[in-house]
Subunit: 528 residues, 2 copies
């Protein structure tokens, strides 16, 4: 009989054989909430392919530990702040009752204040790792091959830099996309690449382009200042040499972006940017029995799926009733993920759930529409299954996400703050009864499913590529070596203009000199 | 027994089943010489996957007909000019004895004159198709699903536009890359994207950036004029509405570029640009017996493969002897593709061939170095097999191709015009004996072979995608709808500056007015 050791060895060999053929060590610096849901899918695939994955997670995380895939290891470090304080800070200001009342400018300012406020907390978190000698020693000794980082929370790149390991980013976007633009050198012409938070389409009118350029300037100046104030100094301190957050971030080997051209407006990008939107999507699984019965009871009319995401837990009573009364007037059955008090106006066709299997519901043949706050994960599930949307965006990238779906004809937007029951009802009737919305959603679905390689496989491929080749330097543009004025050729233009001016000056001088000389000679000759 | 018809039907079904699952009709507008060798590989793959491929070919073509894959159909149209006149025009000015003596500026000017000169001939060719009612009727009736176009010779996009069929480009680059930049909206910052014909790397010194910007301006102004003079008018005439060559080219659904990041410097690109360099490469086949014996006779020293491509047929006697004497001094055996008179100085280690199986020789374990003129096809075969190069570039993109390989440490360049025997000998000894060249060539090989999808499969995927979806409009950037000043936001910047100036003016006026008014009141009060 074979010993246990032999069986394990054979199993490991088998795993490696069915997987990538080489097993490496992956360190992960994650971000919480919906970001984690997306990243988790990549990590599960990596472990499935035989890699050893370790997630660095703070003791104040919200959902990471609870939803951990069993194959992933966790390295938990403690931070001075407790979970409740952190949670309150996040939910207080970004709640559904505050953000939608603000103009885009106010919302941008609010978000910036929010980031400044939590920036100090994030620094505390970062210090808890990089100054923790036990953890750093352990990380150093493990000899990781790559660090996979969600860069919404800084620090991941700093840890990678200390450990001397190549790193890969995975993100939807940074605030104002400034990190991609200035640290990743991603070109973003403001004439047709709308700035995040503006909710603008790619085909803009003159005034929209004015707004877009002003937002570009706002983010460029405001946020560069925010970065340099806190993080540049901290990174320099820790690394013991003058550096910046942006310079450190610029060393990312690959940027895995959580969108694709079914969602994104076509725009310039770089070879080390890979668009892997929808990597978490998968075919629908059967629903729980009770839910399936409710769905089947909708008959020909079908169902509407409704969720405002994990950040919004309840609404004001008035708002909840406004929504409930609109839902009560449609012939469809509605499945509403809602944890608040049951609204008085709730119709017989609507059921409330603490949690819904969103992907399985959207993939159900009876799904007619999706009412969504516009998070990227949810929108991608709707694209994956070809379901038209009613968007009620609130903050961050949500207005933009819905703007993208509107521009592509697969969604109607409703302002959650100003809407009446009639507005929501009209929006719902439009996306359900006007066939163009379903057709456009199906077109996006076809585009999404017709890629040379699936998004998840591409994400995993590039992470493994970085491990195999110890980086991906052949994809790194030389723009990283240029200052901003060199990048825009301002020094060269200045030099050429100076040359031209000098030439004009010299020619003029020569002409004047000649005129004067010959003039004098002429006069002299005349006198003689 | 089954009838022949049934057998054919089953075979066709089988073909479709093993292929793409749907059989469509592909029309092709090719370009001659080495371009055709690359395109042919795509067409063979398309026919293998069950598509019906028809190549539109002029009666004056050089190699297209001779090398036709048996599964491709040809639609030949006659042109007023005969093959010899056309051939003489091409080879006369671009011969190896003329081009290398010129500076980059002179060479660029020469090439431009060359293009102007053959532009008139190309228009004749184009007229022979679009005004030929029999051919156009036949093309119209066949209901093609896509046109695959090599855009070096204009006309393909015009035919596609008349027929109302989406089209896909396949090219290495246009002169100065102006077509990609202005018709395809490909961003090309002159600070780190070297202009073709300059032979510059991506990491440039200040003076190199000055040179690059000057070349950018040269190509921008000069060639835009060249386009508009002849083709804009012709395209408008034929289509019966005002248009330009560039506007028509801008409708390309996909641009398949014949390079990849193993060869190309990392640069910004767009979602409808796909880099499929090296798609023609394949593993080496066994050599003919006599050749294999000669190769094996090289022992440990190995062989050197030498070809100046299909455009150069012979050299001056002096040049040929200079080369031969250098080759005679190396311990390797040399296989030289050369059709000219046998040089007197030819060593015993060197054999001349009218034609060599280049890919099979480069893929032979004994291949130590490749002396090449720097055509993209040959360079990619060297990358595919990891063989270091000695570059003797002559014209067109060749100096740039070699510059790329030099910058990546896989080649040494020799100026064919000024070189001595010693120069060539030193270059050969360097790439053979300095291990860094072999290592870098092997690194490029590893990058080339480590892609999520092989280049040929990607090329075919996107051509089929365009057929399946009747285009790829979701990849088309909104930049196509902007004028050049809108693209660079000059109108918006002007507007904002005007607003700022007006505000400053009004505030100043108000201040002055107040000062005057209050000043007067003060004075009045004082007086009172």
């Amino acid at each position: 009989m074979m010993s246990k050791k032999w069986v394990s060895a054979i199993l490991l060999l088998q795993l490696c054989y069915t997987g990538c053929g080489f097993c490496e060590k992956v360190l992960v610096w994650p971000c919480d909430m919906s970001h984690w849901l997306n990243l988790k899918v990549i990590l599960e695939k990596l472990t499935e392919r035989g890699h050893e994955v370790t997630v660095l997670v703070s003791s104040q995380n919200f959902i990471i530990d609870n939803s951990k895939p069993s194959t992933v290891n966790f390295e938990t470090f403690s931070v001075p702040q407790d979970k409740e304080t952190a949670e309150n800070k996040i939910f207080l200001d970004l709640s559904v009752n505050v953000m939608p009342t603000l103009s885009p400018w106010q919302a941008a300012k609010k978000l910036q204040d929010f980031f400044l406020q939590i920036s100090a907390d994030l620094k505390l978190v970062c210090e808890s790792v990089v100054y923790n000698q036990t953890i750093m020693k352990k990380l150093q000794d493990t000899n990781y091959n790559v660090v996979v980082i969600d860069p919404v929370m800084p620090c991941g790149e700093l840890i990678a830099e200390i450990l001397g390991i190549p790193f890969v980013y995975t993100l939807r976007l940074s605030l104002g996309s400034t990190m991609e633009k200035y640290c990743g050198q991603l070109p973003s012409p403001p004439s047709y690449v709308p700035v995040v938070m503006t909710g603008l389409p790619d085909k803009m009118t003159f005034l929209q382009r004015v707004k877009n350029l002003m937002f570009t300037i706002f983010f460029d100046f405001w946020l560069q200042q925010y970065d340099s104030q806190l993080w540049d100094q901290f990174y320099s301190e820790v690394l013991g040499r003058p550096t910046t957050l942006c310079e450190t971030m610029g060393k990312a080997e690959i940027w895995l972006i959580r969108t694709y051209w079914d969602f994104e407006f076509p725009r310039p990008y770089l070879p080390n940017f890979e668009f892997v939107g929808g990597l978490h999507c998968k075919p629908a699984k059967p629903l729980p029995k009770e839910m399936e019965e409710f769905v089947q009871s909708s008959g020909e009319d079908g169902i509407v799926v409704f969720s405002l995401g994990s950040m919004v837990k309840n609404l004001t009573e008035e708002k909840a009733n406004c929504i409930a009364s609109a839902l009560a007037q449609i012939p469809q059955k509605v499945l509403w993920r809602y944890k608040g008090k049951k609204p008085a106006m709730l119709g017989a066709n609507t059921r409330l759930y603490d949690w819904i299997p969103q992907n399985d519901l959207l993939g159900h043949p009876k799904a007619k529409a999706f009412i969504t706050h516009g998070g990227t994960n949810g929108i991608y599930e709707a694209i994956y299954h070809g379901v038209p949307m009613v968007g009620v965006p609130m903050f961050a990238d949500q207005p933009d996400n819905i703007a993208h779906m509107k521009a592509k004809g697969a969604a109607v937007e409703v302002n959650i703050n100003t809407m009446t029951s009639a507005d929501l009802l009209n929006a719902l009737r439009t996306v359900i009864n006007d066939p163009s919305y379903k057709e456009n959603a199906m077109r996006l679905k076809r585009i999404h499913h017709d890629q040379p390689v699936k998004p998840l496989d591409r994400a995993v491929f590039w992470i493994e590529f970085v491990m195999r080749h110890k980086g991906a330097k052949h994809l790194r543009p030389a723009a990283h070596n240029l200052t901003w004025y060199q990048y825009h050729s301002l020094d060269v233009i200045g030099f050429l203009l100076a040359c031209a001016a000098t030439a004009v000056f010299l020619v003029t001088k020569c002409c004047l000199f000649s005129c004067r000389k010959f003039g004098k000679t002429g006069k002299k000759k005349k006198r003689e």
